[in-house]
Symmetry: C2
Subunit: 442 residues, 2 copies
């Protein structure tokens, strides 16, 4: 399968929604990510597609007949209150919706000329759209796909043996909590939990003192495989609806005490934040990149994880950024500060490998399921995707321009992730933001 | 809160459904467990309540007006295709339905006399009811609450350090997979997976050679807590809709290679089987028992896990049994053989403690969520709840009356769990069965 680069990616395309054409928006007409929103004071959730600083209301557009060419089933699905129905179909149907939306929003098509006259009916200003988690997530799985993150974290906990023997063979993952996934902007309450500050004393129960973020990419699943039927690696990309930003909030003090032998649990499941717009795999086609090149001496992936296309375009060239704004910075009107940058190409395992591995035992992946990539960390000091790594478990506090320091997150700290793709010959597209502010423990 | 023992438990009660009165059925009128079934060739899922060898069709009973006294909301919920709506209410509403059902099925009430004349309308023979997973399970969490299981398994993997230092403080749990939970009777395909048979050679990918069962109790959640709001231990029982049997199928060879550092994943998520009838916490009231008594020297639970009622009735007196029938036994018409017995009272942590711990960081538990207890093992040789323990990781094969031996499960093996409660002065109630047969890898 070669990336599908069609007219919807043409960098010369312009929309009749002017804010989509400024060259800086995350949501030009070449992006068209899907989300679910509530308009102002209305109760009804609707599917939306981001365009510039506006949201195309798919319910309104479908009722006005703009999607009629897609057939009644897809027209119905676009009027649903979640994306799961559309996700239950496949990449091809999502691509058809994307094509129709592109024509509808272009400045130079008959549909666009018509739609522009119905602007008030079809568009909702993004500022008035209350975004929600974009799918009903049946199961959420978190991976651990950055070898740099695994090595950095492993070195802190097991200095003599940072990378476990399975790492280069197994795309390590574990099940996360679906119920506590929240949309960007939702405040995150500092969790209580059991920790053991001193090995010589019993554990204590209280608010976490080592609250952290983890910079990740989330992948939403489309289509379904029957329980017992694996998805071969060569068909894994067909099951990939699109990507978002994901913050796997982590309480490190709870984690280190609870995680053996069955893995992280309460240290993670108090909240996971996702950005509300799913950038489709089709929108990302111009930004495919070779998969990570394993250094000499590393084993090749086993056969069920080997895709001949990986060397060409198994990866995604996505740049990620972490911003921090403390309560004090807000008080004095100082902007959020950049604290690290990530490169999704640096992941040891591709999303397709994670998906194929996940189903290799017959596990059924359902439409709307979410995979987290694991913390995106690179080899450089400025590319560590969590405070645990950045401050070496608190040993090297981070100095902020406000004069403050941080080992872990304080109450009032707001963490924002951004992500974007830029390449010569393509229009820049972005992911919007994944943001959450820490509230004090109850 | 003291156990609520009301007239619905009276051992003298008799039903007009004669098969409920034979003293041996799992489903006398004192039980009345909830399930979801499909009648014969019909598509429509319905809520059912087991009575003897029959199922009370709640849709039919509601339409016939037998639940009218419960009010229109509950009448609506009883006509739903899942139990989640009823579970979204609380224990009190479930108790009201239980009370109304008891009156409806009694031989000595006006409702019962009326209902008996409409037998064909209200009852479906259990043999014709296709049972499904009894709730839409949003999140499934598996615990590790038997100290005997944890010690036995720990000794196999870490002979010098069988029980990790957190065990007696933390009700250890991890998130499982909701999508692959299946109802009793569903065949289980032997999973493929990555294993490392020899430490000196690379791992291989193929069918698991160490397939195992785990004898567990499942607990279904009712009501909801908002994200950020813990459920205090004193109110945890209010969130407990009822219990079922649960088989946490496990591929030990996949597990031992994949589980570090983030816990079991593909070794577990290929299938989890539940018995289809949820025995309500109210039906279990006569069988409450003191929580496990910690041996001298063990720490007391921390405050957030301390319930003054535990010493009196924090536990459940449930006897469990594992039966095995191999393909050869089926061929020669030999019955399944008993291979072990479990006692749910032997668990180190109560279900209420698991639930309170789970929400102690603010994690939201939703109606229909499922908690697994972890393998129920006792101190005696005959009470080990999985083959890993029973055969000491294959070192001591199990001899069967058929002349066969087992280290782990072979294709064609059928594993059945049963569970029941018996006590002087109370009617015996049971859980039905939790059954699955191993099919060959694809």
């Amino acid at each position: 399968m070669t990336p599908n680069i069609d007219v919807t990616h043409d960098p010369a395309l312009r929309s009749w929604v002017e804010s989509a054409n400024d060259g800086t928006t995350d949501f030009p007409i070449q992006n068209l990510p899907f989300g679910v929103f509530r308009h102002d004071f209305e109760e009804r959730l609707r599917i939306g597609i981001a365009i510039g600083d506006q949201v195309l209301d798919c319910l309104a557009a479908a009722r006005a007949g703009y999607f009629d060419a897609l057939g009644p089933m897809i027209v119905d699905m676009l009027q649903s209150w979640s994306l799961n129905a559309l996700m239950s179909l496949g990449r091809e149907e999502a691509r058809a919706v994307r094509g129709a939306t592109s024509r509808l929003l272009r400045a130079d098509t008959a549909e666009g000329t018509s739609a522009a006259t119905k602007r008030d009916l079809l568009l909702v200003p993004m500022a008035l759209a209350g975004m929600t988690v974009p799918a009903e997530i049946g199961d959420y799985t978190d991976f651990y796909a950055s070898v740099f993150h695994a090595s950095n974290v492993g070195a802190l906990f097991r200095p003599d043996n940072p990378l476990l023997p399975n790492y280069k063979y197994v795309p390590i993952g574990y099940h996360g909590r679906a119920s506590s996934i929240v949309a960007s902007g939702t405040a995150v309450r500092r969790p209580f939990g059991q920790t053991r500050p001193a090995d010589t004393a019993p554990p204590v129960f209280g608010p976490s003192k080592a609250l952290d973020y983890e910079l990740e990419i989330g992948a939403f699943i489309c289509g379904a495989n029957t329980l017992g039927d694996p998805v071969p690696i060569g068909r894994a990309e067909e099951r990939l609806f699109g990507l978002c930003l994901l913050n796997d909030w982590s309480a490190r003090d709870i984690q280190s005490w609870e995680y053996q032998p069955l893995g992280p649990f309460l240290s993670k499941n108090f909240a996971t934040t996702v950005s509300p717009w799913i950038v489709t795999t089709d929108a990302l086609a111009p930004f495919r990149a070779p998969a990570f090149v394993r250094p000499p001496g590393d084993p090749a992936p086993l056969g069920y994880l080997t895709d001949p296309n990986d060397a060409d375009h198994g990866g995604f060239d996505i740049t990620l950024e972490v911003l921090l704004r403390t309560a004090r910075m807000r008080e004095v009107g100082a902007p959020a500060v950049h604290i690290s940058r990530g490169d999704f190409q640096s992941m040891y395992w591709t999303v397709a490998q994670m998906l194929a591995h996940h189903s290799s035992n017959g596990c059924n992946l359902r439409p709307g399921d979410l995979l987290g990539s694991g913390t995106v960390s690179g080899p450089e000091a400025g590319s560590r995707g969590c405070l645990l790594e950045m401050t070496r478990r608190g040993a090297e506090p981070l100095s902020l321009p406000s004069g403050e320091t941080r080992t872990f997150l304080e109450d009032g700290d707001e963490v924002t992730f951004r992500g974007w793709c830029e390449r010569d010959g393509a229009a820049r597209i972005g992911f919007g933001e994944c943001r959450g502010e820490i509230r004090p423990a109850n």
